[in-house]
Amino acid sequence: MVGEFFIPHHQYRAMTNEFLEWGLILSAGAFLLGLVNLVQVNLPKVQRRDTDWQYKAIMLVALVVTLVIGFAGGTARQQPGYSYKWFFDYVFVPLNATMFALLAFYIASAAFRAFRARNLEATVLLSAAILVMIARVPIGESIPVVGDYLPQLMNWIMDVPNTAARRAIFIGAALGAIATGLRVILGLERSHLGGGES
């Protein structure tokens, strides 16, 4: 896989592409493991009537129902009129989207209760945050006089200090990836195999 970057030869590419396809399949297999694990963990709970077993039962039923209507729908499952599509649109979408929307409220709460200008660093962070928040929405541009400079200042923060900081983080991350990559490939890293020899 490393060679793929340096070796343009088409036969080599054909080989790495084959490996990539296996990678896709195994990566999908890992998801299946999650499915099996979920059932393995929750089914006994329902059988034993553990705490909250009713909810676990709902979860398993929802899982089974989704699987059944999904496979029944087949290739056409995403067309209007299929129950899989109905489930997706009216059950999955609101649940998934609202989970994310909760964050707006938690941010408000954190802003009031936890976001403090305790020291110089936090003060810098705070000021930059407030500046960006005001300058990024239309109301900031509409403030007389100051409004002419706010968006520029915000763009400057994004373009210069932000770029500098991100690049430093990127470079660090890249060096880390090279080191880890080399360790894994040379077989020095075995922690992922669960060897427990460390």
Partner: protein, 287 residues
């Protein structure tokens, strides 16, 4: 006084939640509209697409799920309208399992608006797991990564895929991305290696992360969050909206953008109040 302040600091956070809800609901019901400027990063996307010729083919990677729909749906829709209005062909794939059931109906709806033919003018290839590995494979061999499209047709024989084997063969690539895997992984894995023309529409959360990629020309354009979508929407709908009659769409992001004003002011207020209370009580406690 101090006691009240301390109590204020420790007030039930559910009051804050209620305040936040009001800061959203009130401006939604009673909107106040402010004008806004167009960012150069968004304009770059628009200009680049304007310079495409009829018959060119582009690749879109739609990597978002219902959770980031409000930010990216307007861009995705406006983007498709833009491509179709310019008679550019569109090939879409996705790395997120929850994307296809959501974005494919929009594609079919917009394509129908423009009278486009499935398989000739557009195609949805479906979802592919494997994150970076999938990206690598798509870049080097789209057909191997997606042997069948979403409707289980052989990808290799579709008219739109004629002469399109690698990502390089496409005029440009748009990454509509809500996180991992998405724009960053495309930039890392393939943009540099294949020197792709690539732009990104992303959530506000990821935007600061991708600005360096824009600054170093790894992305030719970048649209961040709701304001980015609203600006792009404005550019596209102003040009192709009413005159050509091609677009039957509402600027959804623009509506939301004006609600953001209030939300941001509310958060700024909370930070200021929280800190004032904090410092007042702290100084008094120290004394």
């Amino acid at each position: 006084m101090i006691r009240q302040l301390i109590r204020f600091q420790n007030m039930d956070r559910r009051w804050i939640f209620l305040g936040m809800a009001l800061a959203i609901v009130v401006p939604l019901l009673a909107p106040i509209n402010f004008p806004f400027k167009i960012d150069e990063r968004v304009e770059a996307i628009y200009e680049k697409i304007e310079s495409l010729e009829a018959g060119d083919t582009v690749f879109i990677s739609a990597d978002f799920d219902p959770a980031s729909r409000p930010e990216l749906e307007p861009f995705y829709r406006a983007n498709l309208h833009h491509f179709f209005a310019k008679d550019v062909k569109v090939v879409i794939g996705s790395l997120w399992p929850f994307a296809p059931p959501m974005v494919n109906p929009w594609l079919e709806e917009i394509a129908a608006d423009h009278g486009k033919v499935d398989g000739e003018d557009f195609v949805f290839l479906g979802f592919k797991d494997g994150k970076e590995l999938a990206i690598k494979l798509i870049a080097d061999d789209v057909v191997k990564a997606f042997p069948k499209d979403l409707k289980e047709r052989d990808t290799a024989t579709l008219p739109i895929m004629e002469g399109k084997r690698q990502l390089q063969d496409f005029a440009l690539m748009m990454s509509v991305s809500a996180g991992f895997p998405g724009t960053r992984e495309y930039v890392l894995q393939v943009q540099g290696q294949y020197n792709l023309d690539m732009a990104s529409a992303t959530t506000a959360v990821s935007a600061p992360d991708y600005v360096p990629y824009y600054k170093s020309n790894q992305l030719f354009g970048l649209s961040g969050g709701m304001p980015g979508s609203a600006q792009y929407e404005k550019l596209v709908y102003d040009k192709y909206g009413n005159d050509s009659g091609l677009i039957n769409a509402r600027p959804i992001a623009t509506q939301a953008l004006n609600v953001l004003n209030m939300g941001h002011l509310f958060i700024v207020l909370l930070i200021l109040m929280g800190n004032v209370a904090f410092f007042l009580t702290r100084n008094i406690e120290e004394a």
